[in-house]
Symmetry: C7
């Protein structure tokens, strides 16, 4: 481990190795991810659940404009955490790749292939000079050959496959919640409950507000990404007991972590 | 949070991450926005209102040459705050995109699409080396499919949709004023009143002078951007009680914040 | 406001934002403008007046070689202040733009369009790396659709329209003189008097010498840029009482500010 | 040998020589390799064995997504240690080279040729500016002309041929274990035992868990890379006595070194 | 005015503005000019005179190889002072421009046009990164439309027209001498006398040696650049009383300023 | 001579001159050569001898993979010392040049021409920015027009021709040994003895092991590069008394200098 | 004059001006020349003499491989001093230019033209970024139109013509010797004697050894560059009394200055 002064020497200019073999710009980009509100992914026996904390900074902001969940193709969605403008670049990149795959091969792009195409793109920004790394992590979820798949991309450009994971704020607490609640035979509804529970864990408020939550699911039966509306979300929150009390944080404004 | 000396290390050369995951050049560009006079946007049930503080530095300067409101296409206008020369680049970029869209698809460009095309352009200047970020924020307002839409672009390249917002000087005070006065069923005239009230909040003088205010509206009925002249503005100011007294700041010169 | 040591950190290398949102290289380029001798522009009801302090550093220098006034096209002239070699680049750029416009559209280029083409060019040098900003300000004056127009370009690349303005040395004093003397119904001759009065205000000597003054006018009647010769200028100076006494500063050498 | 302060001077920007003739960026990249979990290769008389520590950071992570072993072509596999995203780039590069060789010459690429093509690629990143070295080491194993071959690539771009080797964490201890157990007449099963023994040496836990181990073999008889599944691995671990006790580290999470 | 330490901060890397609006690299290039031996130009009613101090560093050096005077075209010559190798680049540039002009337009290039083409070239090296400014000043003299013209180019890229001027060592003293002796009705012979007098002023020795002086003239009658030989120069020096005594500085070596 | 602190100032970034006219990056690259194990070349009346210390770091490493001797073409071989990955680049470059020469001119490339083509390539890396120098020295030996030739290339890109030389560790001691033993009428066998004696001098152990030595010869009679195998080498070592005792350093591992 | 610390500020990165108008990188390159052994040129009435100190560092080095004298074309030779690898680049450049001239114009290239083509090439490396200056000086000697010509190129890219000169070590002492012995009516043999005398002056030993001296002559009669062999040189050294005594420095090794 390095002292403060020495560390400083390795985190300027292009991304280079520190004496202990670390890439500080990549690690700082991970900090940018932690500064973002949480997103959660859960793989169930029936499909994939993506959920995101999308509380806005003001009641005047349109909840829909807080972009945390993105449909990439019919069969695949992505949840992001971290630097919003960077996320948009990767989302666009993923969409173009999915389209090109459909055009070129006449079939849907595999979730793993899509993820790795994105991580290879991310890696280039950590090795070649003239740009900084992407300050964003993604959860890529979808159906491939009838099976639900769930991947993570981090700022280093490494792909990981998960059964359930979170990215963004309070990752350690949320992971603990996920590990407690996960089992291989979750139904889609179980998965939604677990995802919302994890999301509630990531924030500081009592419960969640429908407008401050994003929820997307892809079922193995129809392989269609479904973006749930506020009514549907409110139903789930109410059903599972995560609905915030009326008088508390009435405007749903995030005071703590917020994607920038 | 970092100390002063340490912070310095992360805000030079190309835009890179600080140890806590921040992009200082982007944050400093946000300061450039705060140094600019305020612009305000209000979405009403009847259309969109854009208003701007365009007080000039001298009575000899032509009020019309203080560029804060810009017609982009028939159905969309943009208000800016911050570094004026940078704003002009983004305005030109937005106009070209709108034109190209008309030529290519034979129809008007959507407000959200236009905004995101602009923010993607902005983002590139925060990640790729060899240039600095844009020191400007924009309010993009217009009609899309008969609905009024109102977006913000910030120096990080993030798009946000708002019901009402301000950019530039004294943003916190102005937002408070907007939150107090906003409701979903505002008429266009209500919106103009709220926008002027917010603008008056942003300055230090008593009231506003017609020459020092820019006002643009786009009504859902005709989807035409209207740039209001000084007489029209004086009427509104008088009607709503924001007209500056004759003997105060007679030349309308801004002593405080001014776009540069 | 920043201390001296901190400020230094933001004014090297390419043009980047300081923590308070300023672009120091642009501000330093403005200092280069202030180091130049003054130029003045006055818009009258009959046309535009451009005047410039063009005192040379030695009696052996040809007065005509001190370039402060430039004919750009029949209907438009430019006065400059600041770094002379930089000014030449922008003047050449403006001339080429005006010529191209004539060739392409078969008509004169508008004064506002011309100005903004120049300021967009200037802005690029403040955002893209690999070059420094232009250390020069310009007054662009001309006739557009029968109306006199008068614009300023500054080193940030911002265009402003003025009724009357000065650039270069002692700007504050000169502006005060212009504000005192300006009214909307000035004749061309009134405008020349005001311009010469402002110019006299900018220097430290008693009065002006014909060889040390440049004077250009464009009348709405013929829309022709007229470069006044020393005899004409001497006439005006004599008429308005700004002619320097014979024994004072007989060689017209500038001891103070001088464009370099 | 250099002091701490002096060393700092030679490890920034592009890869350059230090006064004692060292390339610090390359040496720091070697540290990145040491931070990774171990991979092992053993050449036996019957073929090549590749094994890797692929313990994941969480029980929720899919073991298969921890990429340490990669099939490159029918007759060749690669085990990696270090920066995972960098490894992916080299793996992709190796696969493309192997494919191109098949297409161009109609035959399998030789193991030595493949290794050297990869190391030449790595070397370029240590000499030409504008990028950092690769933070990864590879073990390239395969069959060439009926003979098992085993190579190492390091971050400097040097190829070495080995009888048995490890890369990644605790290299010195693991090498000692390999040297003790190696002989030229090992059978494939002997090789697997030695590889697992070495891998067990690299970690801190008692024994190995099937999910936390990767095992690949290429037999001289069929020249086919075989990626062993968890059941097969569990069999070997049980057979050779390296199976972790049930109650110890039940979730196989790596607490120590982990590839990032 | 800046202190020593602060000044240092603005004179490295590419040419940028200092806080007081100066371009230090350009000012340092001017110092390179001052380090060179003097060159003089005098415009007379009959033509242009160029003279240069070309004392060599050793009696073994060929006087002709000290390049201070250069024929550019039949009707134009250039005298230089400063960095010799830089001067050669500009001289070559000027010659190519003059040739191209002849080829393209079938006529001689105007002296002013030629000068400004050269200064525009010089300016580029002060604004665009990747090169340093030219460390040389030029006196461009020639006949244009039957009139003698005399220009200066400095390291900033500014063109000036003069009646008489010097560049290089001891400029202030030499200018004084030129101002004393100049009048508009000088004959060519008067001009030669004045040029030699000025040159004698620039050095520290008593008088000038024929081998240490360069003399070029262009008469309005034939518009032909004449490079005077040592005999001709000795005649003038003798006639005007500037011939150095035999026993003083017999080898004509310059001890003080010398172009490098 | 410069102090420690001052020296530091001249050895970063691109290769530039120090105040005393040295190129530190080149000198540091020479240090990289000294860090490598020794290689030796001897020119005899019957041909050229190349020998190299190729002790490996571990008994598990294949001796053949320690690349110190390289056949370039039938009639020419190269021995290297220093940074192994850099050596590979130059070896490849030399091989391509030799092939191209055969194809283009239908004959073998001359040893001197080949050497100078390589040194010109090396020099470019010491003068042009964007890369570091090569950290390797080469001994190029071969037959040209029936005559044995022996050249050295160093990191500055200078070619030298030698009768006998060494590169790498302990150069001074080895040269002394070579000077003692050299005479112009050495037979090939004499040359081999001298080369092995010199090699033994370079290490710290008692004697040499066959596996730790590389030996290549090119005889003037057949002009064929011969790479001697371990048996042949053992014979020579035994014959000349340089064979290491059995119980000493049985595994031939280099403890001291080793190419990296 | 600048202090030590201040000087440091102007000698890094690309070649830029110091506050007193100097180019330190060029001056340091001159130091590299001084570190080289001396070369001498003498122009006689019968032709040109080039001589060089080419003592090698070891008796095992081939004297012929110390490259100080180079035949460029039949009628022109070059002697160099300084960085050997840089010299080779300029020699190659000069040879290509001479060949191209013959091919294009069917005649020999003039000595002055050749020299200036080389110096223009050198100058580019002192003004354009991305490379360092050449650390070498050249003496270019040859016959042009039946006349012997002798030029120098220095690291700034300035061409000088000389009657006699030296470059490299101890230049001041050698010049003194040349000035004492030079006269315009030297025969070729006189010139050889003077050149050898000057060379002897440059070293510290008593006398010169044939192997340590290079001698080239070009006679006006045949205009053919003659490279004298050791026997011829020994004859001259013996004849003129500069032959080193047998027992002194028997191996001719240079202990002091040596080209690198």
């Amino acid at each position: 481990m390095q002292g403060q002064a020495q560390q400083q020497a390795y985190d300027r200019g292009i991304t280079i190795f520190s004496p202990d073999g670390r890439l500080y710009q990549v690690e700082y980009a991970r900090e940018a991810v932690k500064r973002g509100t949480a997103s959660v992914g859960v793989r169930t026996s029936e499909g994939v659940v993506l959920a995101a904390d999308k509380r806005s900074r003001s009641e005047l902001m349109e909840p829909a404009s807080v972009e945390k969940l993105h449909k990439i193709d019919d069969h695949v969605g992505i949840a992001s955490a971290g630097h919003v403008a960077d996320a948009r670049q990767l989302i666009d990149f993923a969409r173009r790749q999915a389209q090109v795959n459909r055009l070129r091969y006449g079939e849907e792009m595999g979730i793993e292939t899509l993820t790795k195409t994105v991580t290879d793109h991310i890696q280039q920004y950590t090795q070649i000079g003239g740009a900084r790394p992407f300050g964003v992590a993604l959860i890529v979820g979808g159906i491939e050959n009838g099976e639900p798949r769930l991947f993570e991309t981090d700022p280093s450009g490494t792909p990981y496959e998960w059964k359930a994971l979170s990215i963004g704020a309070n990752r350690a607490d949320v992971r603990e919640r996920l590990e407690e609640g996960y089992s291989d035979d979750l139904t889609m509804e179980d998965g939604i409950e677990l995802a919302l529970a994890a999301l509630a864990e990531s924030g500081e408020d009592d419960g969640l507000e429908p407008d401050g939550v994003g929820l997307g699911t892809i079922h193995v039966d129809d392989e269609q990404y479904v973006d749930h509306d506020a009514a549907s979300i409110e139903g789930y929150l109410d059903e599972f007991g995560y609905l915030a009390p009326e008088d508390d944080g009435a405007d749903g404004d995030a005071e703590g972590a917020a994607d920038e």
